[in-house]
């Protein structure tokens, strides 16, 4: 059967879904960056509080807002080997407590000795934080109160404690965005890795030789066929092999023959080449949908240990690829310009 062979660069078989997944991850990253533009620092100050006297800050007008919350971050500025239990308090206009949260802060340092070596360590957990959201417009004032203060050695102290207080409004909770970015990003990665494996396997043949063949139903006008050849060869292989690919139609008649170069990758162990692997791929639109025979010959064949031929029907691609379109030639000879010339 006479056929027409055309080779074209095609993007119409690109799988859009992996790009949508990537876009979702990109959106989370964008949300991460944009988040900081919504926050506004209202107060950034250092205050002093003791057990008898909490530190009071100026009143803040809160309103119901669609984005972000009021974030109060308090860092206890204590000397080393001390601990402090402090409370972040919110008062309404009548002076009633409307919210409070406790942080147990500490700061320690010391030295360590181990197997003749030594060094010093310093650790602290002094930063506390509270995010609040208002349901209605209201005025709140913030206070930081010391509940207890002491030394690691056990002695309690009755001294004022310094606190660094930062109050911001419109703060976005980024604790959600990082897992969101990792989650959407890894799904996008899996989608990209899965794209070359898409479609139905029409042929999957592995032989311990260099000339696998197989026959399967594949093709159709709107379906992409992916032909993949994987080769494993021994240490005597040259850097490049030649892969000859033949396609036969339903009657066993050869309709396509092409030679593809395959560059091998050497697997080395202790500087010695143990094995070489390589793969080539080709894409086809085979018309009509029918039974096709695929035959591969790898040259030179002496070093080839194993050859795998995989044909996937209705596959998708990551990017635009070179596609060989094989379709039956029009039967009417008068329409063939080459015949007219002779």
């Amino acid at each position: 059967m006479p056929v027409t062979i055309q080779t074209r660069h095609m993007g119409r078989f690109i799988d859009p879904w992996s790009y949508i997944a990537l876009g979702a991850a990109g959106l989370v990253l964008l949300a991460f960056i944009v988040a900081q533009f919504f926050q506004k620092t209202l107060v950034s100050t250092t205050v002093s509080a003791s057990e008898d006297e909490p530190a009071q800050l100026e009143a803040i007008q809160l309103s119901r807002q669609p984005i972000g919350a009021l974030r109060i971050d308090v860092k206890a500025l204590i000397p080393t080997n001390r601990w402090v239990t402090y409370e972040i308090q919110l008062f309404d206009q009548q002076g009633q407590v409307i919210a409070s949260a406790i942080k147990e802060a500490w700061k320690e340092s010391g030295t360590w000795y181990e197997e003749g070596e030594s060094g010093s360590w310093s650790e602290e957990d002094t930063l506390g934080g509270l995010d609040v959201r208002a349901q209605k417009n209201e005025q709140v004032s913030i206070a930081v109160a010391v509940l207890e203060y002491g030394q690691i050695s056990g002695q309690e102290l009755d001294e004022p404690v310094q606190f660094k207080v930062t109050v911001q409004n419109g703060v976005v909770d980024t604790r959600y965005l990082l897992p969101g970015l990792i989650g959407a990003g890894s799904l996008a990665l899996i989608a990209f890795m899965a794209t070359p494996l898409s479609g139905k396997k029409a042929i999957a043949k592995t032989i311990r030789d260099s000339d696998p063949s197989g026959r399967g139903t594949a093709g159709g006008s709107d379906r992409l066929v992916r032909v993949k050849v994987d080769v494993k060869s021994d240490e005597t292989s040259p850097r490049q092999l030649e892969v000859r690919l033949f396609i036969n139609d339903a009657y066993g008649e050869q309709i396509y023959a092409h030679s593809l170069p395959m560059t091998l990758r050497y697997k080395k162990e202790n500087g010695k080449v143990e094995e070489a692997t390589g793969k080539v791929q080709a894409f086809f639109i085979l018309e009509p949908r029918s039974s096709y025979g695929f035959h591969v010959e790898v040259m030179p064949d002496a070093p080839v240990d194993q050859t795998t031929l995989t044909v996937r029907d209705r596959t998708r691609t990551r990017q635009s690829v070179e596609v060989v379109q094989i379709s039956p030639s029009p039967l009417d000879i008068s329409e063939n310009p080459q015949d007219q010339q002779t």
Binding site: W17, S18, A21, A24, A25, L27, A31, A35, L62, G68, A69, R82, W83, T85, I88, I98, A99, S100, A101, I102, K103, E104, W106, E108, G110, W121, E123, E124, D125, G128, G129, L130, D131, V132, R133, A134, Q135, E138, V140, E148, G150, I152, G154, V171, V172, D173, R175, Y176, L177, P179, G180, L181, G183, A184, L187, A188, I190, A191, T195, S198
Partner: protein, 84 residues
Amino acid sequence: MLTKVLAATAVAIAVFTIIAGYTQRSALVLGEEKQRNYWSRRGTSLSGTYNENTTGTSGGVIWVPLPNRSSYGSFRGGGPSAGK
């Protein structure tokens, strides 16, 4: 098909995390009795809950300090030497 499912899941994750982050679903909602989504930051725990105001005449909710609030007294530093 697989990539379609992966993409749909990725979009769902992105939409949920962006909405959750931007609307601050884990923040303390002032005057709200149920704080189901509250997620404390930097080991700072709430020291009270909102209860219905049964004593006042104005109604609404009031902040009630936790009964075990005095238990903070057991904290004597949380560093390596505290034996944790």
